[in-house]
């Protein structure tokens, strides 16, 4: 993790750590997500009733029931749809139609040009804490078929309005997980549980776990405070976006990401080396919370 200025309060309050660099956080991309062409995906009733339509429907099923349908590739209790609402179709919720028209693309995370298939494989590795399905697997083909179908009519190469999560302005005060705990208890615990482990009913994970062994790992985009804050502000509580203030979204994002979670699969042998190589962004990996260093448990243990 890089120690940005906004973490000063958090650092003083909670983090007693080594390995903090004094580097300044990289500036966020300017807010531009609201610009661009508006796109509305087709209705699901328009999925054709043929072999292609079957692949689309199968892809949708995998998207919304990922952990159950792909246990060999998913190492936690999440689905794609947990972070991409309306089965990946909702604007401002990192919709798949927004991604479809922007790949292949160079990604700083991998340092190379990735296809959308590779991008999805990354989701399985990090957000799903699992192993990637092969390019030619029926599952990946179906997911791509679903994304292609929902992008019908979307212009290739365009930045569509509502792609990604809307970049959130910086908070007035540094993001503070202690304040975030209060936000969490008031708005989030009802569904995700005071312990952050979500809730199940009849064997189904209805509300997803937000930290711990059954959640996304330290390599997932959502472990970044800015990414989580942007998602939360635009999409939570479910059906009531904009309920939280900008400050509350940052604070609660910091709180959620101040708990332990599965190791970054790019593990370099130590938390210091992994932190230094892969976590030069707004996150708490490698920080110390209540005398425990986040991310210190080696991969595979």
């Amino acid at each position: 993790m890089r120690r940005p200025a906004w973490q000063a309060v958090f650092a003083a309050a909670l983090l007693v750590g080594s390995g903090w660099s004094a580097a300044i956080i990289a500036q966020q991309a300017p807010a531009g997500d609201r610009a661009g062409e508006r796109f509305i995906p087709p209705a699901e009733s328009a999925i054709p009733d043929d072999a292609f339509g079957n692949a689309v429907r199968y892809g949708r099923t995998l998207f919304t029931d990922t952990a159950n349908r792909m246990p060999q590739h998913v190492g936690n209790a999440l689905t794609c749809g947990n972070c991409h609402l309306d089965a990946g179709k909702l604007a401002d919720s990192a919709p798949m139609w927004g991604a479809w028209v922007r790949y292949p693309a160079f990604r700083a995370k991998t340092g190379e040009v990735n296809t959308l298939a590779e991008r999805i494989q990354g989701c399985f590795q990090y957000s799903m804490n699992g192993t990637a399905p092969a390019h030619d697997s029926p599952e990946l083909k179906a997911l791509l078929a679903y994304m292609y179908w929902m992008s019908t009519g979307a212009p290739t190469g365009a930045t569509l309005r509502g792609s990604g999560y809307p970049t959130l302005e910086q908070p007035e005060q540094p993001a503070d997980p202690t304040r975030g705990q209060g936000v969490y208890q008031e708005y989030c615990a009802l569904c995700h549980g005071a312990d952050g482990q979500g809730q199940q009913a009849r064997g189904v994970q209805v509300f997803p776990p937000l930290w711990g062994d059954r959640s996304y790992n330290w390599g997932a985009g959502m472990h970044r405070i800015n990414t989580a804050a942007a998602f939360i502000r635009a999409n939570m509580p479910l059906g009531r976006p904009g309920t939280l203030s900008v400050q509350q979204a940052w604070d609660v994002a910091a709180y959620i990401n101040s708990f332990e979670r599965p190791q970054d699969p790019r593990w370099q042998g130590s938390v210091e080396k992994t932190d230094e190589r892969f976590h030069n962004h707004q996150c708490l990996y490698g920080g110390t919370v209540e005398e425990r260093r986040l991310g210190a448990v080696p991969l595979g243990e």
Binding site: T61, T64, N82, H84, Y187, V206
Partner: protein, 239 residues
């Protein structure tokens, strides 16, 4: 819920008569349910049915098998006026906190009704209603699916999200309208008020009818026809 006064009085009389003879072994909660108390709380089962199974004819919901904490919160909401209900208000007022706990524990311990209290089969608008139930109405209105909070089959999740499967259509409709009109404001974080505001009157009708046809207890009854992805389609992020 509109409850015929005369009908209730008759039912009460019957209940009081039958309960007085065999109340000895019953729990406090069961005695309250069957006979009410001396402070003016009438017998619950007069309207909510023997064994708390509800009465569709008068739009009275089943209580059996609902979460205990949920039931307690509802009685408290009737007291505070966060649920405006002229029938339940005086009854709730007549229950002490201990009695509230006891009667909630009694009903939550009873088995859920096996059948929904609505007409079985697919009513008009069922396809649309099922879509609202399993997918929501995100694109048009930003509305999550019912199942994303009320769980598979709408059969409830934890202490906050009650079982909505199989309740009488008149009851569900009245609740959705109450949220819209500010007559029910006990929902946490305004979650249901927000949903109800996004539904059209026609959608409320079709959704209430559809939900009433579902089984409160049987697994998988909300399985959408012709779809492989099941009734939790979009649990993911509550889509």
């Amino acid at each position: 819920m509109g409850i015929g006064r005369k009908r209730r009085a008759v039912a009460l009389l019957l209940v009081a008569t039958s309960a007085s003879g065999s109340a000895g072994a019953a729990s406090v909660g069961e005695r309250l349910a069957r006979a009410g108390n001396q402070n003016g709380a009438t017998a619950c089962i007069a309207c909510h049915g023997e064994a708390g199974g509800g009465q569709a004819a008068i739009g009275s919901p089943y209580l059996a098998g609902l979460d205990r904490h949920y039931l307690i919160r509802q009685i408290e909401a009737f007291k505070t006026g966060k649920r405006v209900n002229p029938v339940m208000r005086p009854i709730a007022d007549a229950l002490s906190p201990e009695e509230t706990e006891a009667v909630a524990a009694y009903f939550s311990g009873l088995p859920l009704p096996e059948q929904g209290l609505g007409a079985p089969g697919m009513a008009a608008g069922a396809v649309e209603a099922r879509r609202l139930m399993t997918e929501g109405k995100w694109q048009q209105a930003g509305m999550p699916a019912c199942v994303s909070c009320h769980g598979p089959g709408g059969q409830g999740v934890g202490t906050a999200f009650p079982n909505i499967a199989g309740q009488p259509a008149a009851y569900t409709k009245a609740q959705l309208e109450a949220w819209r009109q500010g007559q029910r404001s006990s929902d946490p974080n305004k979650l249901m008020q927000s949903v109800a505001e996004k539904l059209t009157p026609q959608e409320i009708d079709s959704l209430a009818a559809y939900l009433s046809s579902l089984s409160p207890a049987a697994p998988g009854t909300a399985q959408p026809q012709g779809r492989a992805d099941g009734d939790m389609g979009g649990m993911g992020g509550g889509s």
